[in-house]
């Protein structure tokens, strides 16, 4: 019984270890990339399209719509980053129904990595959109004294992203394992279904929060930059 798949180590060399998190992530990555390649190698631009192409188009279209709704900007530049966040987390969580599968999102290392990506992507997008001066000026608003709080808020929301996803997935796995020990029949299946739902919701939350952060950083006219994303985060977290 492991809290995190990091503890399953296949190969160790000094500080570098090839653990289950990395391996499963590779498997998920290969499966996603290969599946996407399988579907998109024969794309149809006509009126008749394959079932899987239709599925992928639905996913992409809805991802774009969500991004556009939140950012009120052209979703084109954000789609690869945010869409991949959602798809990776969603696929990694859905695959928990496979027996013996260890979700990489159940590892705090993975979620921390993803949160760090968001942490870095927010200023990257912000600077690209508004310029370095324009982006960093927002940390001085509404006054210079707010700078430490703004920076703290930046760090804490990144930490919250990582811990939220980790905690949800890990707890789901733990509950399933514990229930399996207590009531081995039928009941764990219900929890598995609940775990699938939770996994999808967490994927959505992670992606939508990242979008909100990026949107806040890239909005040209901002009124309450620091508080708005936090407020939304709080609402979604409470929900």
């Amino acid at each position: 019984m492991h809290i995190t798949p990091d503890q399953i180590v296949f190969w160790q060399w000094h500080w570098a270890s090839l653990n289950a998190t990395i391996v499963v992530t590779w498997v998920v990555m290969i499966a996603m990339a290969f599946g996407a390649w399988l579907v998109t190698r024969e794309l149809s631009s006509g009126m008749k399209l394959s079932r899987f192409q239709n599925l992928l188009e639905v996913i992409v279209v809805h991802a774009r719509e969500q991004i556009r709704d939140v950012t009120r900007q052209d979703p084109g530049p954000y789609l690869p980053f945010i869409g991949t966040l959602f798809l990776f987390i969603a696929v990694a969580n859905i695959l928990t129904i496979v027996p013996g599968y260890q979700a990489p999102t159940g590892s705090l290392s993975t979620t921390a990595g993803l949160a760090l990506c968001v942490f870095l992507a927010v200023p990257a997008y912000g600077i690209r959109k508004r310029g370095a001066a324009g982006y960093f000026k927002q940390y001085l608003k509404p006054s210079v004294f707010m700078l430490p709080f703004n920076v703290l808020g930046e760090l804490s929301r990144t930490l919250a992203l990582a811990v939220r996803l980790f905690g949800n997935v890990m707890s789901g796995t733990m509950i399933a394992a514990i229930l399996l020990a207590i009531a081995p029949l039928i009941f764990p299946i219900v929890m598995q279904v609940l775990g699938l739902l939770t996994g999808l919701i967490q994927a959505y939350i992670f992606a939508i929060l990242a979008t909100v952060y990026i949107a806040a950083a890239t909005k040209v006219q901002q009124k309450r930059e620091g508080s708005e994303p936090d407020q939304q985060k709080g609402e979604i977290s409470n929900g």
């Binding site: 809290i3 995190t4 990091d6 500080w15 570098a16 270890s17 653990n19 998190t21 990395i22 992530t25 590779w26 990555m29 996603m32 990339a33 996407a36 390649w37 998109t40 794309l43 149809s44 631009s45 006509g46 009126m47 399209l49 192409q53 992928l56 188009e57 992409v60 279209v61 789609l79 690869p80 980053f81 869409g83 991949t84 966040l85 798809l87 990776f88 990489p104 590892s107 705090l108 290392s109 993975t110 921390a112 990595g113 993803l114 760090l116 990506c117 980790f166």
Partner: protein, 263 residues
């Protein structure tokens, strides 16, 4: 420690690789396909719009043609109606004039026939009257009447004194050709003598008279010499009667002929 920083770095790298892979194999092709499809749809819509406009234009052209055709047909109908009306009127007029002509011809024919009939009737009536008169006078003629006739003749002879006297004077003077007295009956001797005396008295000279009987006279006496004559007989009356009847008939015929034409 739940966070293995090597794993974190590896996962960041993995994630960035995944982003690149999905961008290459998922988002870009899907977006391309959707953009192409949208472009195709837009093109089809534009085509449809164009074709619709084309169809509307053609429909408009056809409608206009239809209207023109209707108008032309209406015009032709009107024209042919007018022509037919004119033709009808002309025909009617011609028929009327023909009928009028026929009527006139017929009336004229009727009038002619009427006239001919009347003329025939009148001539027959006149002939009959004459024949009856002749017959009646013939039946009535006798010796006594002859005497009366001779007396009337002699009175007339006395009345006819001027011109005929000269006419008879010359031939009478020659006394080469005897004067001829025609009568309807054989005149008895005393009447002959009275006539001879009357004539001699009339001429103031002695003349030889030749007496002959002429049945044409019906009743009466006639004195002829060198194409001249002095006479009294019923035939004269009848002739003058016939003459007056003929002139009366002509007047009536003229009237009956003209009357229908005046209507």
């Amino acid at each position: 420690m739940l966070i293995d920083w090597f794993t974190v770095a590896a996962q960041i790298l993995n994630f960035l690789i995944l982003v690149a892979l999905l961008k290459k194999f998922l988002y870009a092709p899907i977006m391309r396909a959707m953009d192409e499809r949208e472009a195709k749809i837009a093109e089809r819509l534009a085509d449809a719009r164009r074709e619709k406009q084309e169809a509307e234009r053609e429909a408009e052209v056809f409608r206009r043609k239809n209207r023109e055709f209707d108008a032309r047909r209406e015009q032709m109908m009107q024209q042919s109606k007018a022509e037919a009306e004119a033709h009808r009127k002309e025909l009617l007029h011609r028929v009327r004039s023909e009928i009028e002509q026929k009527k006139r011809d017929w009336r004229e024919a009727v009038a002619r026939e009427q006239e001919a009939f009347l003329r025939d009737l009148r001539s027959r009536a006149g002939e009959n009257i004459l024949a009856i008169s002749r017959q009646a006078l013939k039946d009535l003629a006798d010796q006594r009447m002859e005497r009366q006739v001779v007396q009337v003749f002699l009175r007339r002879l006395e009345d006819a004194d001027s011109a005929p006297m000269k006419d008879f004077d010359d031939p009478g003077g020659d006394k080469q050709e005897p004067m001829t007295v025609f009568s309807a009956f054989e005149l008895p001797g005393d009447l002959r003598e009275r006539i001879i005396a009357g004539v001699q008295h009339w001429l103031g000279a002695s003349v030889a008279l030749d007496f002959q009987v002429s049945r044409d006279l019906i009743s009466g006496i006639e004195l002829r010499a060198n194409g001249r004559k002095v006479a009294w007989h019923l035939k004269d009356y009848l002739d003058s009667l016939e003459e007056s009847m003929r002139s009366a008939m002509d007047e009536v015929a003229d009237f009956t002929y003209r009357t229908p034409a005046r209507e």
